[in-house]
Amino acid sequence: MGSGLVRLILIRLAQAGPLLVAVSLIVFALIYLAPGDPVRTLLGAKPVTPEAIAVLRERYNLEDPFIVQYLKWLWQMLQGDLGRSISGNRRVINIIAERLSISAFLAAMSAVIVLGAGIGLGAWAALRRGSWIDRLTVTSGVLGISSPPFVTGLFLLYLFGVILGWFPTFGAGANFLDRLWHLTLPAIALAFSVMAIVMKITRAAMIEAMVKDYVTFARARGLSARRVLLQYVLRNALIPVITAAGLVIVSLVAGSIYVEVTFALPGLGTLMVDAVSKRDIPLIQGTTLVFSLFVVVANLLIDILYTFIDPRIRFEGVKS
C-alpha cells in the first residue's frame, strides 16, 4: 500500500509537469500575442532608442528561434529571475514579494470562511431538510452562484462600509488585527460565491449519503447517532466536496483579482490588472506564473489528499 501511494503521488507529479510547461509556454507566448512588434511591446512607453532595443534583444534573445528563446527564458525564470517591470523598471520578483502578503492573507481568510461556513451550513441544511435554515441555505446558494465577487463586494462596501460605517472602505491595514478588520469585507465577498458551491455540494452529498443503505444498516446495528453522522454520512459526503476543491482554489484565485480591484487593495491581483492595462509584459508574465504555480501545486496537493480520503482511488491505483 505504501509503495502504491508513492507511485500514485509520482504519477500525479508527472501529470503536473506538462501543465506547468503549458502554463509557462502560454505565459512566454504573451509577448507574441500582443499586437505589434514584441520589441515595441516590451519597450512600452519608453523612448525607442537603439540602445534600449539592443538591451531588450539581448535580454529576451529575440534573435534566436522561438523555442530557444523560450528555453532560455524558462531557465531565467527557474533561477528566480522574472525580469524587470517596464513601467517602474524594478525587478518583478521584488514587486511581487511586496504584494504577496495581502493576497495570501485574503485568500487564507476566504478559504477558512469557504470551508468552515460552506461545509458547516451545507451539512446543517441537509440535517434540517425543509427547515428555514435549509431554505435559507438553498436560496443564498443560488444568490451566491449568481453574484460574482466584485458585485457582492460593491454591495458589502456600500452597506457595511458607507451606510453603516462598520468597516473601512479603503486600505489593507497595518498590523494583524487591523488587517483582519480591513480584509473582512473583501474576504466575505470573495468567499460568498465560492462558498455557495461548497454548500450546494455538501448539502446534496449529505442528503444522498443519509438515505444510503450503509447508513440505514449502521443505524440498524445500533451505532450511536454521532458515529453514524461522522463516520458514515460526513465521511462519505466529503468525497465529492474534495473533488470540487480544485474548482474552489481556481475560483478563489480568480475571485481575489476582482475583489482586490473592487476594494482597491494593493495585492497581487491589482498588480496583475494594472500590468495588463499598462501592457507591462514582464510583470504580467511574473504575476501569471505565480498564480498558476499556486493553482497547479494546490491541485496536486488536493489530488494527493483525495487518495487518502477515498481508499478506492488508492487501491485502483495499485492495481493498474
Binding site: A16, V142, I145, V250, S251, V253, A254, Y258, T288, S292
Partner: protein, 285 residues
Amino acid sequence: MTLPEAIDAHPVRRVSRRLAQMPLLVALAFVVVCVVVMCAVLAPWIAPYDPSLQRLDVGVSLPSSDLILGTDTLGRDILSRSIHGASTALVGPMVIAAGAFAIATILGLLAGYLGGWIDTLIMRWVDFMHGLPSTLIVIVVVGVIGGGYWVAVAVLLIAFVPSDTRIVRSAVLEQRPRPYIDAARSLGISKPRILLVHIIPNILPIIVAYVAIDFAFALVNLAGLSFLGLGVEPGTADWGRMLSENRNLLLGGNPLGTLVPASAMILTAISMNLIGDWLFEEFIG
C-alpha cells in the same frame, strides 16, 4: 388494473402540464428574463435619453423627477445606460453558452459514443484544460490581445468548451450502455442515425438546462472582464463597465450608478440559474 397518473401521452401536453406546475420563483425568473430581453431589443425606444449623452454641466446627480436614477460623473443618465446595457449582457453570454455547447456536443458525442482513441484524445485535452487556471488565463490573454467585447466573448467561449464537453460526454455514456441503444444496433441502424434519433433527444434536456446555467456563468464572467476594463470598449453602456466607472460614486455622489447595474446583473444571473435548475429537475432528475 390501475394506470399510473401520467395518462396523457402527448409530449406537448406533458410539457404544458409541467409548465403549469412551475413554482412561483421560476415563473418570476422567466418574467425577469423577458424584461431584460425587452430592454435589450427596445432600448432605443424606451430609454429616456441617449446613453452616451454627456452633460458635464449636470455632472453627478442624485435621482430627480427628470433623471429617475440620477447621473454619473459625466452627467450620463443611469437609467438609460442600464437599459442599454441589457444588450451586451444578453448577446455575448448567449453566444458563449450556445457556441460552447455546440462545440462541446460534437466533441462529447464523438468521445462518448465512439470511444477508443478519439475518446482518449478528447478527454486528455479536457483534463489538461481543467488543470489550467482558466479564468486567470482568460484575463491575461484578453488583456494582452488588447481587449474588446468580441475578443472576450471568443476567449470565454473556448474556455467554456472543456467542462461542457465533459457534461455531454457523461450524458452520452449514461445512455450508451442502455439496451435500447443495443436494440437499435442489433437492428442494424446506422451510427449517425442512432446518435441523431436515439441519443441526442435523450441528452437534449441536460444540454438545455446547462446552456441556461452556462449563460448565467458567462454573463458574470463577461461583465467581470468589462469591470476590469478588458471587455467592452470604454464609453459603452455595459453593466460591468458601469460598475468600474461608477465605483467611487458609492462612497459619495450617486450610489445608484453601481447599485442599479449590479442588481440588474445579479437578477438576470439568478433568473437564468433558477431556470436552469428547474429545467434540470423537471426534465431530467
